[in-house]
Amino acid sequence: MKKIITLSIVTSSLALAGAYKVPEQSLNSMALGAAYVANTKGADTAYFNPANMAFMPSSQYMEAGLTWAHLPRNTFRGFQAYSATEVYPADNESEIENLQLPFLHYVSNPIDKLRWGASLTVPGGLTKRWKDGHQKLFAEEFTLKIIELNPVASYKISDNLAIGGGLRLIYSEGVVDSDGGDIKPIKREMKGDTIEFGYNLALSYRPIKDVNLALTYRSNIDLKEDGDANLYLSNVGKQYNTSVTVPLPASLNLSASKKFIDKYTVEVNYERTYWSAYKKLDFKYGSDIQSALVEPFDKAKPKKWKDTNTFRVGISADVTKNITVMGGYSKDESPIDKKYISYELPDADANIYSLGVRVEASDTLSWGIAYLHDEKDKIKIKAGENISGITGTFSNGGADLVALSMQYKF
């Protein structure tokens, strides 16, 4: 397998804000619950709305930060059915995940009407580990790490209209381990990675003073994780070349912001995420695998995710000349129907609450801290409702995130 550069600090990734896409990639975006597209200000403008770079005062901007994410246990209470006559109690809890996610943004000085910038982010990912029980057969570990380098440029068409766009360079790693343990004598260890490309576009319009309108689009990128898989049948394993493709879906953001009495800014945001690109999870092997393993490990698993809507509102207040307080709320929709939900990502609709503060320590340096709480709804699955034989209730889950960052202007 090819040796690939990776980001070791991203020891794992997280599922947040709709399946495995992570929109919060800076201090401001986390504090505002990702209601941060029309009224972007700092170096993170390069990522959230590159068109807005055209309106930024002449200077260079940089932001570097780190997000600590705590993912509590998912709790499952219920049964796992393998057939009509094989139904087992399957109460269990997934592992706690504590993760660190870096972000880095930069915006250059303008060159006439042009400006460029770049971001290094973790725009998606998930990890779910079940260390025992029936869940281990499906997702002993299911990890998808995604790292994006996003060079962008903007062009100022007029004083109130700008466009932007960029190239998305994605490096991704996938780990899929499943182990039947005492339940079924089968086991899979899979590791793969890939480099993929996409693009993003942005449009900003400022019709009147203190009102910003924005539209951004990020393209779908199919992550074809190429690697190896060890498949075991009753403790005897063989290695196969393997690939599996999952999409990092396209998303469309429509945002509007309004500043009031020169102090308060409210932004509303609507995001459409095109999760319907995720139709199936289909592992491909370089050669025929053992016949007893075809059903669990080779047969494509239908996903049939649906496109989702997310509504966000964010408010920021300049409480003093140097201190800005921010808060946000999002209503996030899960793309996964109960019929297709599985242990690797028991995702549910969520309410997301966030707040944060940014302090300008000097004319050039500022720092801040933000906190976000993701509250997932329970998922209740009735007998016969799920194609993987899951009957019961998923609860807890969600996430708590803290981001620390420094911004520098020079």
Binding site: M1, T6, I9, Q239, D288
Partner: protein, 419 residues
């Protein structure tokens, strides 16, 4: 300050860079001289057999651990060939067995065409118990040895010398010798009991093996149970060529092809075109029997038949026909074995007539064999109906396992008494 921040920003991505390792190879048990390809514990084996309706819950079942073992043997022309076989041992056996050791059964497989039907290839590809070794090992508690034969497994590039006694016997005997070394190297305790069996082509191979073992004098066989083999090839060939149609054309096409190759004849002098030209591809191990049969005619001979009419005419009319001499040379029914033999055969066999075993029993007795008997499967199992060749296999293996078990039991009792 500016420099510091720039430095941190620039070095952050570098700090993050690290090599990503490959996925390690599967952590399989290491053995000397082979590899573990199947390892089903006794409880798993029992659960599997119950779920398939093979046994009930009261039946004792042993685990199934199979090793793919490479070894060297010799083909019909005397050339060394790198071959392979499957060695299956029971696990979860009673503790006294470790003192007594496992009894070996050399089990020669029946006619196959596709390489992935060979025992070691099945084990390697499927990772699951398969075929007669389930009966012999998991239900019978024997160590089962299955040579792939030349032409399959590691020697897949070599043509398979179909029903040719020298190479079949070599492949089997060399595998038995290799397994003995393998077992010694890997702390698997075997006793001195060696049983020989096989079904269909395997029945023929078992008889050829026994004949060579007795001729060489290196190994001792406790008992042989050849099952439904074409021991008298000459009579079999007369029977087949006398019929206007072939029930399974691939069998006789393989005979014609393999014998032409071994005896240095043009395949087209034996098999009519276009079939002669097709056979190298049809018999290269990539196809299974049904796919090969589809490409052949069922008509035995004539201009549009499978066999060249000149060849068939020569076989019938010329006592010195090379093929007739080859059939006689490769027949394994006319000798006087010293080892106890039980010829197991279904009376309803529609491919290898029961009469072949009757003839073999009579011939061997007439030539002085003292312990040769015929075991009709239907009578032994008290069945009301006659059973065909394909349905007989499983039943024949059950009968064989029962017969071998009784011999083994006597040996174990004797060994325990001596302790």
């Amino acid at each position: 300050m500016t420099r510091k921040i720039k430095g941190v920003a620039l070095s952050l991505p570098l700090l993050l860079i690290i090599g990503c390792g490959d996925l390690d190879q599967p952590k399989n048990e290491k053995v000397k001289g082979g590899e573990v390809v199947v390892n089903f514990s006794a409880p798993l084996m029992k659960k599997t057999l119950i779920s398939k309706g093979v046994i009930d819950a009261n039946r004792t079942v042993f685990g199934y651990k199979a090793f793919k073992i490479p070894y060297t043997t010799t083909d019909e022309e005397g050339n060394e060939v790198e071959a392979s076989g499957l060695f299956v041992i029971p696990t979860g056996m009673p503790s006294y067995i470790s003192k007594v050791g496992l009894s070996m059964v050399s089990d020669d497989h029946g006619t196959i065409f596709a390489n992935d039907e060979a025992p070691s290839v099945i084990g390697d590809n499927n990772g699951a118990p398969d075929g007669s070794a389930i009966i012999l090992t998991s239900m019978g508690g024997f160590a089962t040895l299955q040579a792939d034969y030349i032409g399959f497994g590691e020697s897949n590039r070599h043509y398979h010398p179909f029903v040719q006694k020298k190479s079949l016997a070599n492949a089997t005997i060399d595998f038995i010798k290799t397994v003995k070394t393998f077992a010694s190297d890997n702390n698997i305790t075997l006793n001195n009991q060696l049983f020989i069996t096989g079904y269909s082509e395997g029945g023929y191979a078992a008889m050829a093996t026994l004949q060579k073992i007795e001729s060489d004098g290196e190994l001792t066989v406790s008992m042989a149970t050849p099952m439904a083999g074409p021991y008298d090839l000459n009579i079999t060939a007369f029977g087949v060529f006398s019929q206007p149609t072939l029930s399974v054309p691939s069998f006789m096409a393989d005979v014609g092809y393999a014998y032409a190759k071994t005896y240095g004849k043009e395949v087209s002098s034996v098999i009519n075109e276009p079939y002669a030209s097709k056979l190298p591809a049809l018999l290269d191990g990539s196809l299974a029997r049904p796919d090969i049969d589809k490409e052949l005619t069922k008509k035995t001979t004539g201009k549009d038949g499978l066999f060249n009419p000149i060849f068939v005419k020569d076989f019938f009319q010329n006592p010195n026909s090379w093929f007739r001499e080859a059939m006689v040379e490769n027949s394994v029914h006319a000798w006087s074995p010293q080892t106890p033999i039980k010829l197991i055969h279904c009376e309803g066999d529609d491919v290898i007539p029961f009469a072949i075993s009757q003839l073999t029993e009579g011939t061997m007795r007439a030539m002085g064999a003292k312990d040769v008997s015929l075991v009709p499967v239907e009578s032994k199992l008290k069945l009301d109906v006659n059973v065909t060749h394909s349905e007989c296999g499983v039943l024949a293996y059950k009968v064989t396992t029962e017969i071998f078990s009784k011999v083994r039991e006597a040996m174990i009792k004797q060994a325990m008494a001596q302790q």
